[in-house]
């Protein structure tokens, strides 16, 4: 893992991995969503509204995965001070927030026909909304620590680790408390879901995960390029904030 913390080595790998992740992700997502939308049968109780599953579940997984990535990068930043750890955390935040928002909106759109309500304040929905607010707060904190010029990543890193406590709360909320939301249909090595729904769901989840990985790599490359540009401008005696007017 330490080898990947070398920015030059990271860039060599990321340059060919980024387009492949995005391309494979787009193909898998397009195929699995077409399969799920057009070829799966209506579910016995929920009818055709169950087709929202193929967007909602991957978005929920990636909303949580984004914060787990921030927490892992934060731990790496605090313990080993890897040069890419803070960049990886920053690159994961916006995609994680976007997928959390997609999960909440599609969940609400699924709740209306399935439960008769757009929203209920139960454990699963509320903890997912808390995750979205944690993302907003983390992004604001990371931007503030960039702007003050200290380049001190400890405050966002500590926040990233503390906020990770919400992830098991989201996961176990449907088991700990009475919930409108159903308990998990897929657990380790076991599924209560029919194969008609399971396979397109697994492929959609893989496709969206590859897209997420490609987006994080692209954002890491953008952040790294900005750091390198600013460092070079400083060495030449320019103020990087004035560079756009030069």
């Amino acid at each position: 893992m330490h080898g990947f913390a070398n920015p030059a080595r990271f860039l060599r790998i990321a340059r060919w991995l980024t387009p492949w992740c995005l391309l494979a992700g787009l193909v898998l997502v397009a195929g699995s969503l077409a399969w799920g939308l057009l070829m799966t049968p209506p579910e016995r109780l929920q009818g055709d509204s169950v087709k929202i599953l193929f967007i909602h579940v991957p978005a929920a997984w990636l909303g949580m995965a984004g914060w787990m990535a921030i927490a892992a990068a934060s731990f790496t930043e605090l313990v080993w001070r890897h040069p890419l750890a803070a960049i990886a955390a920053r690159a994961s935040a916006v995609p994680g927030a976007v997928f959390t928002a997609i999960c909440l909106v599609t969940g609400s759109l699924w709740g209306r026909p399935a439960w008769g309500v757009w929203w209920v304040w139960d454990g699963r929905l509320t903890s997912m909304l808390v995750l979205l607010f944690l993302y907003f707060a983390w992004i604001a904190l990371a931007d503030a620590s960039d702007r003050d010029g200290s380049a001190d990543n400890r405050a966002p890193a500590i926040f990233g680790l503390v906020g990770a406590i919400n992830i098991p709360i989201i996961h176990y909320s449907v088991l700990w408390w009475n919930s409108q939301h159903q308990p998990p249909s897929i657990t380790m090595g076991k599924s209560e879901m029919s194969g008609d729904f399971l396979w397109p769901l697994l492929i959609a989840t893989l496709g969206f995960s590859l897209l997420f990985g490609g987006v994080v790599l692209a954002r890491m490359r953008a952040l790294l390029a900005r750091v390198q540009t600013e460092a070079r401008l400083r060495r030449k005696g320019f103020d990087p904030s004035d560079e756009g007017n030069a």
């Binding site: 026909p113 692209a218 953008a222």
Partner: protein
């Protein structure tokens, strides 16, 4: 009595929002990466 909804407007709205937001995220991230890498390469050449 339970209301009966036509589920398709909800399904279509979910797909439009989910796919639309994902496409915007991918395109935005890709072009931001290209712009920053181009800027770095231009600064290196100076």
């Amino acid at each position: 009595m339970r209301e009966v909804f036509d589920p398709w407007p909800f399904v279509v709205a979910s797909y439009v929002i989910g796919i639309g937001a994902t496409v915007i995220l991918v395109v935005w991230s890709w072009y931001a990466m290209r712009r920053e890498e181009k800027r770095r390469d231009e600064v290196r050449k100076r």
